[in-house]
Symmetry: D2
Subunit: 309 residues, 4 copies
Amino acid sequence: MPLPAPLTGVVPPVCTPLTASGRVDVDSLASLTEHLIDAGVDALFVLGSTGEAACLSDGRRSTVIETVVAAARGRLPVLAGAIDMATTRVLDHARTAQALGADGIVATAPFCTRTHPAEIADHYRRIRAAVDLPLFACNAPASVPTELPVDTVLELAADGVLDGVEDSSGNTGALRRLLVRLPTLDRPFSVLTGCELSVDGALLAGAHGIVPGLGNLDPAAYVRLYERARAGDWRAAAKEQDRLAALFALTDVGDERLMGRGSSALGALKAALHLLGVIGCPDTAPPQIPLDGAARDAVRRLLEEAELL
Amino acid sequence: MPLPAPLTGVVPPVCTPLTASGRVDVDSLASLTEHLIDAGVDALFVLGSTGEAACLSDGRRSTVIETVVAAARGRLPVLAGAIDMATTRVLDHARTAQALGADGIVATAPFCTRTHPAEIADHYRRIRAAVDLPLFACNAPASVPTELPVDTVLELAADGVLDGVEDSSGNTGALRRLLVRLPTLDRPFSVLTGCELSVDGALLAGAHGIVPGLGNLDPAAYVRLYERARAGDWRAAAKEQDRLAALFALTDVGDERLMGRGSSALGALKAALHLLGVIGCPDTAPPQIPLDGAARDAVRRLLEEAELL
Amino acid sequence: MPLPAPLTGVVPPVCTPLTASGRVDVDSLASLTEHLIDAGVDALFVLGSTGEAACLSDGRRSTVIETVVAAARGRLPVLAGAIDMATTRVLDHARTAQALGADGIVATAPFCTRTHPAEIADHYRRIRAAVDLPLFACNAPASVPTELPVDTVLELAADGVLDGVEDSSGNTGALRRLLVRLPTLDRPFSVLTGCELSVDGALLAGAHGIVPGLGNLDPAAYVRLYERARAGDWRAAAKEQDRLAALFALTDVGDERLMGRGSSALGALKAALHLLGVIGCPDTAPPQIPLDGAARDAVRRLLEEAELL
Amino acid sequence: MPLPAPLTGVVPPVCTPLTASGRVDVDSLASLTEHLIDAGVDALFVLGSTGEAACLSDGRRSTVIETVVAAARGRLPVLAGAIDMATTRVLDHARTAQALGADGIVATAPFCTRTHPAEIADHYRRIRAAVDLPLFACNAPASVPTELPVDTVLELAADGVLDGVEDSSGNTGALRRLLVRLPTLDRPFSVLTGCELSVDGALLAGAHGIVPGLGNLDPAAYVRLYERARAGDWRAAAKEQDRLAALFALTDVGDERLMGRGSSALGALKAALHLLGVIGCPDTAPPQIPLDGAARDAVRRLLEEAELL
């Protein structure tokens, strides 16, 4: 189905449930898809960093797209991440995603190389030329150290190369400077924030939508937050955001002497989805370190405090 | 005069006007002080990075405090930056600031050393023990690469060591996680944002005040932005912020092949204050590179577009 | 063929010649292989960052391994890079390399994730368990921002997980601290330096071999440097290194306003190989920016000064 | 006394012994000076990062210079660090050092600001114009995040602004590229390495001298290392370096959950000097965290293994 232009609303980066043996748990993934659609989200984004794309083989990435596209049954668009080191490899993922029915592509800038804005621009122009789907750039320096300059984004937006950007950089100054220049474009462009704890401020600044990892867990809360912001009830939006910021403490339950912050955050999200009965197994992909019992107990307590359990 | 607890509102980080020979231009500094007070700001913050503190000798730092304290005539509080590499040196600046009449201290965490949260905490505890003034930590990774962890800030707030924090980190997630935990404190604590292009969102999130470098130029706009936010008119606040985000383009007028972004931004602020007739000379301190004529023309055009000239 | 244990000597990271249409130029790659073997190198390392692995599709990566293994005809071992974001994907590359006849694997640590030493260790243990070939870790922070701690490397060496490490970190202190602890191991372990401008010092410190990108161009010089070091003629080794350090200026011929340092360095290496008649086309993979005529002229002059042309 | 041009040999960055109450322990500092001179070092460098300059007030910095100049009694030159955020402040330190009898200045590049090579060059030109002493730049990214580009160093060397550079960057490639271009200068220039675990390689590459923090503890070993290198006995030099690399393990004795790596390293150096009877008290300056008993025991064991105790 065609993407709205610009894309707006709540677009969760979908977790990838795995079985204990490490395969994609397609039943749980379908169940998670239903959980998100039930809550009223506007689109789904599979194979982002929350979806552990870095840890999934090409075959498993394909299974994820197929499963979510099938489970969505055309009720809302599905964007697929094309996350890889440079142009040719990103292109291969984008073409596969198109063939499997994705409705849009979210592509990383080149990394693993000392890059330059002219190279970033060339990269996206080549993807645009090869794949006939709406194209989003993602700016996520915690995962991919390449910075997307505002001027490059605007140039690519003006030329019809990019249809939007997903920004998790936390650089609110750069984001605002992008947003205030969008009216100079003569075509729609969508700015989605991945900073899930400052969604109210991003929407107030003019962002079109949100890509909240925590939205896997409580998508209805992000839908309420979005709707209250759209209705101009900013205080109520901020109150929803405050509640979600408190719940976000679950991403830190893993002992930092034993594991990275990625293992802790993704392990906690999946532990919570498992406790909520949405997915069948809380395992994350190797080499991530599993949460121990104390950490899982802490997740349970935070879910109870948030009245989700 | 005592600082309000918590400190709220618009607290511009005051530029330091210099003469052509590099001395503090005390008349221009008094004039800038008047320009800011006239606009209705709530407090002044001297000797921050916008005040070129890194480039000023101890003697000139003292002149800045004396001049602004005298010019303020008790009409509003004056905070002074105590910006140096580690505890003893920061303490010396803080004691001097107290002796010269400052109403509060904004102190950097230790830098130039591979530090640890326990050391940051010890640092602020020693300053608290030695100086009898409200104490703010500043978190400004563009200038000082030491990160202030949220847990450390909260521990120091709970113990009465810190009265507030000035945050320019752009880490909106960490800021929100701090803000939602403030109600657990049994004493006032002030969170001021230095991210001058997302003030509306920061205030919506619960920040108490703002430290906008661009506020030197158009303090009335930041006062309006703050007041509209406080009145709950978030759309009007966002509109003010948008206008200021467009004006912020002046910080990039300096050619990046010729100078650093600090030279460009501070040079543009001072060129604008000079064009507005607030200060007598647009020079920045060495080793910053002066703007050329084309850059100064660009500043003039942006001031005209913003209807400030 | 089995790898020597420990692997020693000159192990160039082989460039990947491409045709003008972007396919692997298998004739040129065979010719480059011959050029390197003729010079007396000890092993070949394909699909490293010098081989533009980040820019090559899986199919082209396979072509590279097949071509070089066939061209080498068992005269020396061929190591293959398994460069990808995390465990499963690295494993897929490693298995393919084994199936195609590679004699050893050089695998990156996980990246695109906020990782932890325990995760790095688990990652390599899983590769070790799945692939029956000598396994090298690579530590190349310019490409992959994950740091390999010395203690983790030693733990994995002691347990027989790793057979060696290729280090391009430039952290000579960490390297020396690793080297002085190798005698505590009861099995061979190979430390190869990728810092091609301090090979003499690395060999003096006890490194076993070298992985010089510049060795594509002048492999004989690196062989002489290695042999002189092994013979204890350190002054002569240093003199060879000095000559190569001067030649290395060619990596900077690309205008830094127009392209990244990767485009400049790889473009210059390939331009030089083309001028020397070793490869048929100097193109690099997209999104790298091609060198202009002035840059190619500068490469020619540096080759002439080095008496290679 | 005049500095040799170029300065060569062993130039330890002198620790600053403190009393339990935090003042400079002048007797211990004189004793440490004697300990170093006895071992045959070539010059002394006070107020570097090993000397805890970041933690010392201006008054204590002056006491350090006075004490060491007096204790040296003209037997060898004394260089003083002028470590501060930008030009004016560095200049004040440099002038004071000259007035107190220092024989040369080691000045940091500007930091706490987003700087540019043109600003770095201007900074050193202003210091050169104001202070009539040999001037060294220091490149120590662990303490000061400003990088000194090779081209800037060479330009300043050619113009007589800089007399040398102290490099602790670990960027051996950049260092070699600097060293091979020194013959194009028509005046002496001294390259000193602060990478104390790869001194043998740096000397082989052509460095003129060494600035080893560990040299406070075992200066005689660094003198032997230097002399063996100068005599062309590179194997013996490397063997000395290996022994020192093993001893360097003492810098990690402090528990990384409790303190930063600076606290661990400087605490261990001072604990060792105290155990050796060179200084009267092992305390470091706040906010550094003291070593606990287990860490001090580990220092003792390493001294015994190195046969220093």
